[in-house]
């Protein structure tokens, strides 16, 4: 099933999950277009995914150097014009460094790298990336990070809550000390979403987290990608 939606997936030096994100796009019915950090041309994509990894080795701050890549100038302009952008893990860190999303990520409160199957509660289904979920729905996707503790000042946190801009929240256990259990947020327009957990690792039976149908059957992450394709093709 090809919908004609072209979703760009950016590769920075040190990106790890670009292939997985591209695969998730294809499984959701879109065409994955590889974008390169040093190329400012977005190749006429309809949306962009900034995947996870350790771009530039997390040097300076996670996502801080990637923010100045040529491709980011084009993405910031396009995002401000309404193009859907999803930042996953390191991609979320890049979005905060680029000021497309508020707040920042610091080291996990317990200082350990964490890798687990994480329960999330979806709270905002009006974004380009979450419209196929339902409010309050609990989903399970992998989480793996070192600098995953979401922080922002109290005023910003109150604003995010007040405007319903918390997209997903950690449930059962807060794995990194994030303020108010925040796992993902959106901008005011709902086209830019960033989250720490990895929906692209829960898109195909046999390769995802454990699900109700048995081990590795979880595909709760697929609707992030199907949602944006749905918003693009109508």
């Amino acid at each position: 099933m090809l919908t004609g939606a072209r979703i760009g997936v950016v590769t920075f030096p040190g990106t790890l999950d670009d292939r997985d994100a591209a695969r998730a796009v294809r499984l959701a019915g879109g065409e994955a277009v590889a974008l390169w950090h040093a190329d400012a041309d977005l190749h006429a994509v309809d949306a962009v995914v900034l995947p996870g990894g350790f771009s530039y080795g997390d040097y300076l701050r996670a996502g801080a150097i990637s923010r100045f890549a040529p491709v980011m100038g084009s993405i910031v302009d396009a995002a401000n014009g309404g193009m859907p952008v999803l930042g996953i893990c390191n991609g979320f860190q890049v979005l905060t460094e680029a000021h497309l999303l508020p707040g920042s990520m610091i080291k996990n409160d317990h200082l350990h790298f964490v890798c687990r199957e994480q329960v999330l509660q979806v709270e905002n289904v009006d974004t380009a990336w979450t419209r196929l979920y339902s409010v309050g729905e609990r989903i399970t996707v992998p989480l793996k990070n070192q600098d995953g503790q979401y922080v922002a000042d109290e005023h910003t946190l109150d604003e995010l809550e007040g405007e319903g801009r918390v997209v997903v929240r950690y449930r059962d256990w807060n794995p990194n000390g994030s303020r108010r259990d925040i796992a993902g947020i959106t901008n005011a327009a709902g086209n830019v979403v960033g989250l720490m957990p990895h929906p692209e690792h829960a898109v195909e039976v046999g390769f995802g987290p454990d699900g109700p149908r048995g081990p590795r059957t979880g595909t709760d992450g697929l609707r992030f990608f199907a949602s944006v394709i749905g918003s693009l093709v109508g």
Partner: protein
Amino acid sequence: MGRVVVNVMPKPEILDPQGKAVNGALPRLGFSQFVGVRQGKRFELEVDGEVTDEILAAARRAGETVLSNPVIEDVVDVYAEPVHATSDEAGR
């Protein structure tokens, strides 16, 4: 050659997990006189020639826009520092 030092620290209200871990390790090595540790970053920006006011101003701008993230960090110090030849440079 000149050098500008830019010191960046986590904001006081931001929990500093690394400093906390160091703080926990110090008493185990007998350093019981320290009651708190915060860990920051020191950047050394090298320039050809003297450090002028313009260069200091540029270093401050770099500190605010690139070297620190104002959401979580403060630039606490920007100053010129004399550069001493390292043994590596002296051997050339």
